[in-house]
Symmetry: C3
Subunit: 115 residues, 3 copies
């Protein structure tokens, strides 16, 4: 059977939506063990992955990263908000353009969920 | 010709988005008679389907249910908000994990709309 | 290689989401030259395309239109808000039902992004 694939998209630095995304992903991984899960942040949401301000979420994010969840952070948005790669959690992957990645993921069979 | 299939996703108990979803579905059914339409609620949005608090919407929801719209409500979210199955409108179907259902629906050809 | 196709969906007259959508589209077109890009507005978001109130965005929207971006505006929503076709930017295409168009676009291979 084919692996389930899903991308969760965040674009505002809206804590309730972020927390909901993390609950969603946690529930999904409990339900479907062998899945490809991506959380992609562009726009203002890249601020949610800045180490100095997101301490509260660090442990949970690291736990999900260890379970195989991929965190993609948009480089266009980092530039727009003058955030450097070093400011972002190490386990995040910087992608050149978040929107392009969102289209590519959907084209390759990822379901899209906007929390 | 293949039936059109669409899932509307709600995850906050945000009345304007809920009302917009109901308008969307009503307009869609006027336009496309023979379609598969799902409204899936997870996260805080499960509260929108609690009988005691959603009286205002009961009639409209029942009408859409009679027209074949399926209402899926996430059991993880019901548990998180201490809501029991009996509190929820009878015409709703409780699904174990809303996110998993969202992925399955998209994998089986449902379009995704987030109002 | 197949063209990338994407529809951006707006349904509230929420300026930050609108601005983010325009930044998204601009970044996407820089990254992927030959793509099919649609911005579809239904619900309250049709107000964002009313000439008299959206002057601030006119130049940017025209620029994107010249680059081939299609702006689809829902006729059901125009009627609901008593807006006539003449009030809307000329470069917009009025579609009978925005939700139906969203489903059709996804069925024909468009990725969906909700800013």
């Amino acid at each position: 059977m084919r692996k389930m694939k899903v991308v969760f998209h965040l674009d505002f630095d809206d804590t309730p939506a972020f927390e909901l995304a993390l609950v969603n992903i946690t529930n999904f991984l409990k339900d479907v063990e062998d899945a490809e899960v991506v959380l992609l942040a562009n726009g203002f949401a890249v601020k949610l992955f800045v180490k100095s301000s997101a301490k509260k979420f660090a442990e949970k994010l690291e736990e999900l990263s260890r379970k195989g969840v991929k965190f993609y952070v948009c480089n266009n948005a980092l530039n727009a908000h003058s955030i450097s790669r070093e400011d972002v959690f190490e386990f995040c992957e910087i992608v050149p353009a978040g929107v392009t990645k969102l289209v590519e993921l959907q084209e390759s069979g990822y379901a899209y969920i906007k929390p």
